[in-house]
Assembly symmetry: C2
């Protein structure tokens, strides 16, 4: 019951963030801004402030952990983790494949997540024990019978240091790598939850980058974990795998471990 209220609130947070972001899209008001603030910085801040206002007014005992303005009440059991614009390079470049990320953590584990794409008006919502939805309609990962058929996505080679790159390349070599997808940030995980991508593998992510993704992927029938196969939580290292078909998890972990 509480979760239903939390989902409704998370949707209002996404509405507020999206409204703030759309004003800055493709330079709409970029030229009138202060010289030292980029449009993405202004959009990021305006969106996070809009979300914080709602949270502070309605859930004054919950913690907030936002990308732009840091932590409030870090000892609270319930923590809202906010990334107003995940995929800032896509936002800056005018590509509508960034997203606002909203997560609720209980005791450090994500139980609710929203990925919102405000330009395309696309929203994925996932919560513990519930079916993930895409714009209100059930979303489902697709099966993947063989790793060699898997469509793999990742945002940038720059995410990987030399060590992580070796492991990533070992996995990529076992997938349908000629069809590999670059760029995309949170939007790749959303498309995995809708059955269009099979694997997303990344490193160097922060809590605000991955917390919202796990409930969405898992509520769509997929699995999300770190590179050792362990569940993601507030203390995870940021080496993450999302997998549409959990039956391929052993194959993926084995392929990753072969890298050096």
């Amino acid at each position: 019951m509480d979760l239903i209220k939390d989902i409704a609130l998370a949707q209002r947070l996404a509405d507020a963030a999206g409204e703030a972001i759309c004003e800055y899209w493709r330079g709409r008001i970029g030229l009138e801004t202060k010289a030292d603030d980029s449009p993405v910085t202004l959009a990021d801040r305006a969106a996070e402030e809009a979300m914080r206002r709602i949270l502070s007014a309605e859930l004054p005992h919950d913690g907030i952990h936002g990308e732009e303005f840091g932590k409030e009440r870090p000892d609270a059991t319930r923590q809202w983790v906010l990334d107003p614009i995940d995929g800032t390079t896509s936002f800056v470049a005018g590509r509508p494949i960034f997203g606002t990320l909203i997560a609720l953590l209980e005791d450090g584990f994500p139980v609710l997540g929203v990925i919102d794409q405000p330009i395309l008006k696309e929203r994925w919502v996932g919560a513990a024990g519930q079916q993930t939805t895409f714009n209100g309609v059930p979303a489902e990962c697709r099966p993947c019978r063989e790793l060699t058929d898997a469509l793999l996505a990742t945002t940038s080679p720059a995410l990987f240091d030399d060590h992580a790159a070796g492991h990533f390349m070992a996995l990529a070599a076992k997938t349908a790598h000629r069809r590999m997808v670059w760029g995309g940030d949170c939007y790749n995980y959303a498309l995995l939850a809708s059955g269009h991508i099979d694997i997303v593998c990344e490193a160097g992510l922060k809590l605000h980058d991955f917390a919202a993704l796990a409930p969405i992927v898992e509520g769509a029938g997929g699995t999300m974990c770190d590179w050792n196969g362990d569940p993601l939580h507030a203390g995870s290292t940021g080496e993450v795998i999302a997998l549409g078909d959990p039956a391929r998890l052993e194959d993926v972990l084995e392929a990753l471990a072969c890298g050096h």
Copy 2:
């Protein structure tokens, strides 16, 4: 006068291709298709066939050079170069940043180009001596005073062999590389023509990948050439640069040449 007729025809080709492609978007009819044809293959073929039907009926003396069905009348002075879906991995993954490319070449040089994104209903049109348009409104590249401020985009590391990668990395190191954009195919060139990206640098492109882009970039005030600074034509090697601010061309060519 003829160019105006050609532009009108190119718009009708884009309409026809877009209609065919939208039917296959995000698996709409993917499951009912033959086992050995992927949805992207079917969408590619349907879109190119739709464009060829119009061209053959209305301009029976012009040549056609399409990605899927090859060449007709290869000796004609006027050649229509068609890429029904540029960015097939984005199409397959459900990311609306692929495009239909339509170019008209005269004596081997592109004089007209269309980039059409049928899902977002976004269309860029460029033609020799005319201002490029985005959905009918003038589009313009932005100035870039310093290479270190330049937002650079490229589709995939896999485009570059070891030799080309060295040159590319030398250029990337001189730009705002922490903000570099990966993925995107033709859509990056379109965003450059609208003033959101400063440089696109790629290798391994085919004529149908780059022919439509040059008139769009140049009609928006930018410049497009090969890695030696020479104009693109039917015989170019496929190492291409698009630059929003032609004043940075010397800097870009010099940075590229420093790679090894």
